[in-house]
């Protein structure tokens, strides 16, 4: 016994680590990449790789430049990269993808203090920045037919908006991702598979995604706007399963997560139905991110046996 470590308890720790959580999220995102590649071709993988690489590099360079500890090992930058790529159309120019990644990591994450300190989801917010900056390329959609850069077409949401229900893809194709849209958002089935994996691994709870999707369904049903097509369209499943469950920018308690989901669902439908954009998931999540500290405050837990003060 050369020397003994002395520290207060607990002396053991659970197995879950930040890196492990991020790794699980990356695993859960794989089915959507497969579906996206089947729909849009190998360029889907290229764009994803570009976003991941530029996110990790941005984080590394920024932290080096600021003389902070380099934290790329926690894999959170990889998750941001994948999520951002999934939110881009497959035909996006490479330089724009790199720019978006840098915005996500440097402006939205690192300038606010790095992992855990950013108030908004980096991928979603970067997508919004790109949507405003590069509106032409960000809304040029490729028809999924295994051949990249073949024909451009409208997304189901645009068709719904135009009242062109006859041109809508079949529901089966909607589930499998054979429809116009961003790289990782088209296959509700693949995204749900990832969500089930995350719930089974206890990385996320079902509350926010289910509340989000149910709210979109119910509200569009009330408005009489094809609720089934509405929930499988746009980025709803991607946003509900992977962004509305981001730890940093969403509430911490079960009740808070339900409120977050319902609120995001409500805003999504309002934008889709009454706004000037066909899709509202990104804006809905960003707005709810901003409300998250207030939701946290409103849903504080009650201590067992705590006296009123």
């Amino acid at each position: 016994m050369s020397y003994l470590a002395v520290s207060p308890g607990p002396h053991i720790r659970g197995r879950v680590t930040t890196q492990g959580v991020m790794r699980d999220v990356l695993i859960a995102l794989v089915p959507a990449l497969i579906a996206g590649t089947l729909a849009f071709g190998l360029r889907a993988i290229l764009i994803t790789a570009v976003c991941v690489a530029s996110c990790v590099l941005s984080e590394y360079l920024f932290e080096k430049g600021m003389k902070r500890p380099v934290t790329i090992g926690d894999l959170s930058a990889c998750v941001t990269g994948v999520l951002l790529a999934y939110n881009l159309p497959v035909g996006i120019p490479i330089w724009q993808a790199v720019f978006g990644s840098a915005v996500a990591i440097i402006v939205i994450k690192q300038l606010f203090g790095g992992l855990g300190k950013n108030f908004a989801n980096p991928a979603i917010t970067a997508r919004i920045v790109m949507f405003l900056a590069f509106s032409a390329t960000m809304s040029t959609w490729v028809i999924p037919n295994f051949l990249p850069d073949a024909v451009t077409s409208a997304t189901p949401l645009a068709l719904l908006r135009a009242g062109d229900a006859a041109s809508l893809p079949s529901l089966l194709n909607m589930l499998l991702g054979q429809r116009g849209g961003c790289i990782g958002e088209t296959s509700a089935l693949a995204l749900t598979l990832g969500g089930v994996y995350l719930i089974a691994r206890r990385v996320i709870t079902w509350h926010a995604p289910v509340a989000f999707i149910a709210m979109v369904f119910a509200f569009t049903a009330v408005l009489g706007r094809e609720p089934v097509y509405q929930i499988f369209s746009g980025g709803l499943f991607l946003g509900a399963i992977f962004m509305a469950t981001d730890y940093v920018t969403t509430p911490r308690t079960t009740l808070g997560r339900i409120i977050f989901g319902l609120g995001a669902g409500f805003i999504t439908v309002v934008i889709r139905a009454f706004g000037s954009y066909p899709e509202g998931v990104s804006f809905a999540i960003l707005l709810m991110n901003i409300l998250t500290p207030y939701i946290n405050k409103a849903t504080e837990t009650k201590p067992i046996g705590g006296a009123q003060t």
Partner: protein, 442 residues
């Protein structure tokens, strides 16, 4: 009914079926006069005195205090102030053993015939909460109004990983425990006695059910056996009371205020041992385990035995880098292997390098795990923020004082933040703040 938080730790109950082995009498024991909550006992021996096993060497100094007895026969070698496990200094009596273990000749079973004589026997047994708390048992059992005791709950949860000393007591000393329950029923007249055991202890559950079922026709069973889920900290007093009775002990109140009394099973065993055999608490069962221990075992050792003697008996297979008295969640890391085992030491764990070093702390990712797992329904992440911002008023608002320091928050934190450790500091900050406020308002 609200479900309490908690964590599912690995059980590591490697020694659950290892019968208790008595270790050879150590050449020397060091017995601190403070092994309990309350006033330290008053030492009544001096250097050179000859003592025998069970002879009083420390007199209880007040109501919340406990008597201390020589655990070996031999000569008092020194009476001096030494470092205690708690970090404070404490007067300790060191006895050089003569190896004979001669029982004190004046010991005899006490005469127990009514409540005062029963309480006197409990006091004389030197019993304290053997599950770890070390609260003098006689102080717990002395109730002003006996009719207030609705539930007596026997704590056989033993929810900390590794530890099996209560398990072995519930198996090997089951009749002693049961006898104490009869006495409690007779003298304290509780409406219910519930024997609570975590579900990962099949043998104690089976044996206790047998005892409970062994009643004359038409007679009520003495105790109900309640099997609880294995969820740390199930054995916490407030958790047990809630999960058995559905009652919540309000902030600042005692279990008795909701009619409940929780007593550890090993404590009950020692009371009956004294009442039947006349030998007070001089030795106890200790689980020796951990990654550095070659043969994990349950040992019976005299109080005051140095930890190193336990390792000598069980053998070590790796270099020891951390020694924990008690369980890995709430136990105390001790600075050297010369520390003596105390009345409330239920386990000694020796960890090798891999378990001894704690992971580095990374930023909070707001995942809410600490909130989800807190058995008291607190918001550890908010408390941590309040502590870091030095805002004791927020610590008061978020009830840092209710924290049990059970370790669930730090255990479940993916960012590996030492939340429980900060909580101890936060509670001290809150105590200072409350005291200063009380002074100001005077």
């Amino acid at each position: 009914m609200r479900k309490l938080g908690g964590v599912s730790t690995p059980h590591h109950k490697n020694t659950a079926t290892s019968p208790v082995e008595e270790i050879p009498t150590p050449p020397e024991v060091r017995i601190p006069m403070s092994m309990h909550i309350g006033a330290p006992a008053k030492c009544i021996v001096k250097v050179g005195d000859a003592v025998q096993v069970g002879q009083l060497i420390g007199e209880a100094a007040g109501f919340v205090s406990s008597s201390i007895y020589a655990s070996v026969s031999g000569k008092v070698k020194s009476v001096d102030e030494t470092d205690a496990v708690t970090g404070y200094r404490s007067v300790s009596v060191t006895i050089a053993s003569d190896g004979l273990q001669t029982p004190y000749e004046k010991l005899s079973p006490p005469d127990v015939h009514d409540l005062p004589s029963f309480l006197e026997a409990v006091r004389a047994s030197g019993a304290v909460g053997l599950g770890g708390a070390g609260f003098p048992t006689v102080a717990k059992l002395t109730v002003k109004d006996a009719g207030k005791v609705d539930y007596i709950i026997v704590n056989g949860a033993e929810c900390e990983p590794y530890i099996t000393s209560d398990t072995r007591t519930m198996v090997e000393d089951k009749d002693y425990v049961w006898n104490s329950l009869k006495l409690l029923k007779k003298y304290l007249k509780p409406a219910h006695i519930v024997y609570a055991i975590e579900e990962n202890k099949p043998e104690p559950i089976r044996l206790t059910r047998e005892l409970a079922a062994n009643v004359q026709p038409g007679e009520e069973p003495l105790a109900e056996v309640k099997v609880l889920p294995s969820l740390y900290p199930q054995g916490g007093e407030k958790m047990l009371i809630y999960n058995v009775t559905g009652r919540i002990v309000p902030e600042g109140k005692l279990p008795l205020d909701v009619g409940a009394m929780v007593i550890n099973c090993s404590t009950l065993a020692i009371i009956s041992r004294y009442i039947i055999n006349g030998m007070p608490l001089v030795s106890r069962c200790i689980t020796v385990d951990g990654s550095a221990v070659k043969n994990p075992k349950n040992l019976a050792a005299p109080i005051g035995t140095p930890v190193s003697a336990l390792f000598d008996y069980c053998g070590l297979k790796k270099e020891v880098r951390k020694i924990i008295m008690g369980g890995p969640m709430m136990g105390t890391a001790i600075p050297n292997a010369d520390m003596p085992i105390l009345k409330n030491t239920n386990a000694v764990l020796a960890f090798a390098e891999a378990e001894a070093l704690l992971p580095a702390e990374t930023p909070c990712i707001n995942c809410g795990q600490c909130i989800k797992h807190c058995p008291m329904g607190l918001m550890p992440s908010n408390l941590l923020t309040a502590y870091n911002l030095k805002k004791p008023e927020n610590l008061a608002k978020y009830k840092a004082n209710l924290c049990l320091e059970c370790g669930c928050c730090a255990y479940s934190c993916p960012a590996k933040r030492p939340i429980t450790q900060y909580m101890k500091l936060a509670k001290a900050m809150l105590r200072d703040y409350t005291a200063a406020n009380a002074n100001n308002s005077k």
